[in-house]
Structures are given as structure tokens and as C-alpha cells.
């Protein structure tokens, strides 16, 4: 209870400070706070061979990154990889990041449009806090044989898949359902009242839909197991998960929802109290080289913002991508705009109430 929570917080503090100490003692480590698959062993080895810098990887997710950095005021890590839409708000409220010195970044390595978009979205008070690394979408993973009728988020609530549905109880679900219900939550980002109204409708829908849900997944592996075993036939998830499953079972694949897949870009951002900024820049410029970027794509399953990396990507992956994303689906991707501070409080309440509702 309280102790556990305390343990958690003090654990974070102690853990982070220990990491901090060890980082200070050995300047040539890069402490990377990132997602699973974004820093594969082979890339780390190559990087160390070239620069002599060791890389310590801590796997995380968006919320966890913010929590960790907030707990330590932005120390404990040298480089973090939050999604681009989650930087501005967090920076504004908690000041956990440090502006990026763009002169230290080799802009030639990046796809220009993506670089520009990310810069725009992560600018706070005229300073840029993020550059793009990996992008992808979330949409639906569907077992086409058993749940062929599922084409949009709201279809997850249909009788056809009752009890065989899984999604996360997190903000992408709220956004996805809002779009699929014909509303545009992104357009309401700056209008709290309107946004609350949209969320209210989504809440109703999700509570209604609860009885259809097998379980709310929280870890990718757990979801994959649910789908593999056939206990779940339709889920809301990331594209890569669908493609991975597709290799095992041709019936299962990622489907871009009718109302549009949700596009995300994970970035590089510097924690406010990074101890090894130089190494962070070195890492960014290293992994954005097309060949290295292709290695990361192979490991993470998603494409990167590296210019020319496509050439080196595995054909199978490209094929899967094209299957899931016909040209009109690509145009229909809804890219997350930066989340204004405060929106997450509204969403949190909605999620709490959905969680607490009794499914019948």
C-alpha cells in the first residue's frame, strides 16, 4: 500500500541517484531511456567500437519516462525517447528536458519533412526539444478469419467479437475511439470544454463496450500472447505487433482503421540534467546513419526518420507495410499534435471511470 508506493518512489530516487553516481564516475557511458527494440545489442556494440562509449539501456514507455524524469528533476539519464506529442506539455509543466543544440545534429541524415514536423511540435518558448527517430502507427490487429468484420475502433464493440477484444486503457484508445465516432479530438486540443465533451462521449462508449473486452492489455508481450492463443481476435495496438504476429500466423495482421491510423513519432530528447550530452549527440548521429537505422528497424519493426534507410530495410517488412497501408491509408494517418498541458488530467479521470465501471 503506502509502503509499496513509497518503496517505488524512493526506489526511483535511490536508483536514479545511484545511476547518476555511476555515470559521474565513468563519464563514458550513455544512459539511454528508451523503448524496447530501439537500441539493439548489435548497434550498441558497433557504437562502442567506434566511440568507446558504453550504452546503458533502460526500457520504458511514455508515461514512465515522464515519471522517472519528473522524480529526479531530469537527471539519471543522458538521452530519452518520448513521443513527440508528449514533450511540450511535460516540458511546460515539469521542465524535465533541455533544448537541443541543432548545430550538433547532422540534419542531412533526417527525412526533412519529419524533422520539421517534430521540431515544430516540440518547440516550447522558441526552443526545440526533440528530433525524430522512429515513427509508426497504432490501429487494429485483427485475426481476419475470426474477426474479419473489424475495420474501425468502434467495431471492437460489436457483437461479433464479444469477449475477444483487448485494448489499452490509455490515451491513444480515447483518441482512436473519438475519431472513429466521427469527432476530431485533435481539433479540440485547445478547447478544454469541447475536449471534455468529446471525452465524455468516448467514456460512455468505452463503458458500454467494456463487456466486450477480454482484458485491458498493458504490456505488448501479454497482448501478443492473448492473440497467439486465440483468446483475443481483435485488438487495438501498434502496427509492428501486427506484423510480427503476421509472420507466425498469416490470418493475423495489422489493419489501418477506416477513421485513420494514429501516427506517432518517437524522438530524441535531452533530459534536463544529462551528464553526457556529447555522447547523446554522438548516439543520435550514429544511429541515424541509414545502415544503422535499418538495423534498428529490423529490431523494432518500425521505420525510422533516417533518410535512405528504406533501401536497407528488409523486403518482408516493406511488403507488410504496403499491405497494411494502401496509399489512401497513409494519407489518412492522424499524426498526434503536441498534447497541451492539462489535457491529461481530463483523460485520466475518464480512464479511471471506465476502469471502475462494472462490465455486465
Amino acid at each position: 500500500m503506502l509502503k509499496q508506493k513509497l518503496k517505488m518512489v524512493t526506489g526511483l530516487l535511490v536508483g536514479a541517484s545511484v545511476l547518476g553516481l555511476s555515470g559521474a564516475a565513468n563519464a563514458e557511458t550513455l544512459r539511454l531511456l528508451t523503448w524496447g527494440g530501439y537500441a539493439p545489442e548489435n548497434v550498441i556494440e558497433l557504437f562502442q567500437k567506434e566511440t568507446g562509449i558504453e550504452v546503458e539501456v533502460t526500457k520504458s514507455n511514455n508515461e514512465d519516462m515522464i515519471s522517472k524524469l519528473r522524480a529526479t528533476g531530469g537527471s539519471g539519464f543522458d538521452l530519452a525517447q518520448p513521443s513527440q506529442d508528449r514533450i511540450a506539455g511535460a516540458q511546460f509543466e515539469h521542465e524535465i528536458y533541455k533544448p537541443i543544440d541543432l548545430s550538433k545534429i547532422n540534419a542531412d541524415l533526417f527525412i526533412a519533412s519529419m524533422m520539421d514536423g517534430t521540431k515544430k511540435n516540440t518547440t516550447v518558448d522558441g526552443k526545440v526539444y526533440g528530433v525524430p527517430h522512429i515513427w509508426g502507427t497504432s490501429g487494429l490487429i485483427v485475426n481476419r478469419k475470426e474477426a474479419g468484420s473489424i475495420a474501425d475502433y468502434t467495431d471492437l464493440c460489436s457483437e461479433a467479437v464479444a469477449g475477444k477484444v483487448s485494448y489499452r486503457l490509455k490515451r491513444p484508445t480515447l483518441i482512436g475511439f473519438a475519431f472513429s465516432m466521427g469527432m476530431d479530438p485533435f481539433a479540440a486540443y485547445d478547447d478544454t470544454a469541447k475536449y471534455s465533451e468529446i471525452m465524455g462521449k468516448v467514456e460512455e462508449k468505452l463503458i458500454d463496450c467494456k463487456s466486450n473486452v477480454k482484458s485491458y492489455w498493458s504490456g505488448g508481450d501479454a497482448l501478443m500472447n492473448l492473440i497467439r492463443s486465440g483468446e483475443v481476435t481483435a485488438a487495438m495496438a501498434w502496427d509492428t505487433g501486427g506484423w510480427k504476429l503476421n509472420q507466425e500466423n498469416a490470418d493475423v495482421t495489422f489493419v489501418a482503421p477506416k477513421s485513420g491510423a494514429l501516427g506517432w513519432i518517437d524522438t530524441f530528447a535531452l533530459p534536463a540534467k544529462t551528464k553526457n550530452e556529447e555522447a547523446a549527440y554522438k548516439w543520435i548521429n550514429f544511429v541515424m546513419q541509414p545502415k544503422i537505422a535499418a538495423m534498428i528497424t529490423a529490431s523494432a519493426g518500425n521505420f525510422t526518420a533516417s533518410k535512405g534507410a528504406d533501401e536497407f530495410a528488409e523486403p518482408a517488412l516493406k511488403k507488410q507495410f504496403q499491405d497494411s497501408f494502401p496509399p489512401e491509408a497513409i494519407d489518412n494517418i492522424k499524426w498526434y499534435p503536441p498534447v497541451p498541458a492539462g489535457l491529461e488530467d481530463i483523460e485520466g479521470k475518464v480512464l479511471d471511470r471506465v476502469k471502475a465501471a462494472q462490465s455486465n
Binding site: K5, K214, Y216, G342, G348, D352, S359
Partner: protein, 287 residues
């Protein structure tokens, strides 16, 4: 006088590590947590001191209900654990001797050789729709299709009782072992039957063990996170889950801290009420 002072100093020095530990690891974070909990976020980056975070708990039925549910489930867990653990403990303490006794005791300990996560996953492997129990039942022809045993309140109870067992068995065994057989025999000899001996002799004697076991199990269940969340699935609704969510996924430390304090206060109240109802005192239990 001088002696008195120096011995006092000595005592203080002896106690110093404990005091520092208590202060640094228990008191300080709590104080910090408390100040956090009375900070209300009025706008991004703007905070004011108020009890709003606490009021939120009472005003929003969802939190209040979650707590009530968690408390009721924990009380149920405690009661079930006691009902199962008592005969087992009695058997270990009074019926068994030597190697068998050690063996059974270790059997109770066994679940704790793996981490809670692994233990809970063990249950999930057993109970999921495509799990061992479901497939076995289908194979035996007892049921036609797969059954989902997970994600129900009963499953949460099973998991909690399972992981609480040891904390009930240990204090029970030790109090029951201290009950001389002659008391039980005297109970029978003077005309008591199994039930009256249990009620009049065994239970009164085991009361301190029962009470301390119950307190530990109740608090552990209330504070458990993994078991209810993993086994309860979409309807788990555990209060610690709320606290966790406030801290980690909502970045709302203020609310989380307030919930943490409420959990501490309310659970202490429940324990106090339990002691009152069973006419026990904490000092008796510990002494």
C-alpha cells in the same frame, strides 16, 4: 547523575542507527508525501495548499467505491485465509512431529521461493481460457468449450489467499505450538467436545496469532498490486492500482499522495475496528 547522563548517551548512540533509519526512510518520505498531498494543482505549474486532493476521494464515488471494494475483498481474503490456514496450522502444530512437520511447513513456504510476479503468472497459465485447467476440463469432457477462469473476483481472492497463506500459518503455528496438549486434553476431559474445546480453549489461546495473522494478511492484501491487477483484469479495481496510476500514468503525484495517506488512515481505522470487535488490543497481540 553523571552515570545517568552517560548511560543515556550510550543508549542514544545505540539507538542512533535505528532512529536514523526510521527518520530517513519512514518519517521523511511521509512528511514529504504529506506536503505533496495537500498541494492542489489549480492550473499547469500553479499550485495552492488545500485539502482538495482529499475531498476528491470523497466526492468522486469512483475512488470511494474502489477503496470500499478493495477493503471488502481484503477482509474476505483475510477471513478465507484464516478459515483455511487454521486447520492446516493446527495440523502442523499439534498433529505432526519431526520431519513431516518441517515438510509441511516448507510446503507452505514454497510459493515464496518465486517472485510474486512469477507466482501470479503461474496462476494465469493455469486459469486462462487456453490454460491448463480449462483444457484439462475439456479433455475430460466435463465442459464443451474453453472456460475463462481469470478476470473474476473469485480469481483475485484465490490469488490473494494463496499468497497470504504463509503470513497466517506462521503466527498461528507458533501460537498453537505454545498451547500445551494438556489444555486440550483437559478441555475434553471435563466434558467438552471438539467444537467447545476449539471455541473455549484453542481459539482463545491462539487469539494473538489469529489477530496478528489477520492484520498482516489484511494489510498485505490491501496493499497488493500485482495479484489483483493481473488476475482481476479489466474489473480488478484495486485501490493501489489507483495510487499507482495517479503517480505513474497521470503524473498526478498530489492526488497519489493523498490517496496513499487515505489508504494508510482508512486501513488503520479498519484494523482498529477489527481489534475492537474482537476485543483484542495491539499490545496483547504483540506481547
Amino acid at each position: 547523575m553523571k552515570l545517568g547522563n552517560s548511560s543515556k548517551l550510550g543508549l542514544l548512540l545505540l539507538m542512533a542507527p535505528l532512529l536514523i533509519w526510521l527518520f530517513a526512510l519512514i518519517l521523511l518520505p511521509h512528511v514529504d508525501m504529506f506536503f505533496l498531498s495537500i498541494r492542489e494543482k489549480v492550473a499547469p505549474r500553479v499550485y495552492q495548499t488545500s485539502m482538495a486532493n482529499y475531498m476528491e476521494f470523497f466526492n468522486e464515488p469512483l475512488y470511494w467505491n474502489t477503496f470500499a471494494r478493495t477493503a471488502v475483498m481484503s477482509i474476505l481474503t483475510t477471513a478465507i485465509t484464516l478459515l483455511i490456514a487454521f486447520p492446516i496450522s493446527y495440523y502442523i502444530a499439534k498433529m505432526l512431529k519431526g520431519r513431516m512437520k518441517a515438510f509441511l511447513f516448507v510446503l507452505c513456504l514454497l510459493p515464496f521461493w518465486v517472485s510474486e510476479l512469477v507466482r501470479t503468472f503461474g496462476w494465469m497459465i493455469l486459469l486462462r481460457e487456453t490454460g491448463i485447467v480449462s483444457s484439462t476440463l475439456q479433455w475430460m469432457g466435463v465442459v464443451d468449450g474453453p472456460i475463462e477462469f481469470l478476470y473474476t473476483d473469485a480469481t483475485i481472492l484465490v490469488g490473494l489467499v494463496y499468497s497470504s497463506m504463509l503470513f497466517m500459518v506462521v503466527p498461528l503455528v507458533s501460537t498453537l505450538e505454545s498451547l500445551d496438549d494438556s489444555y486440550i486434553e483437559a478441555g475434553y476431559d471435563l466434558g467438552g467436545n471438539g467444537f467447545t474445546v476449539l471455541r473455549e480453549v484453542v481459539i482463545p489461546h491462539a487469539m494473538p496469532g489469529i489477530v496478528s495473522g489477520c492484520i498482516v494478511v489484511f494489510m498485505l492484501s490491501l496493499g497488493n498490486y500485482l495479484t489483483p491487477v493481473l488476475l482481476g483484469g479489466k474489473d480488478s479495481l484495486w485501490f493501489t492500482e489507483q495510487i499507482y496510476a495517479q503517480f505513474i500514468t497521470r503524473f498526478n503525484w498530489e492526488q497519489g499522495a493523498a490517496f496513499g495517506f487515505l489508504l494508510l488512515i482508512l486501513s488503520s481505522l479498519i484494523v482498529w475496528a477489527g481489534l475492537k470487535l474482537s476485543r483484542q488490543t495491539l499490545s496483547e497481540t504483540m506481547g
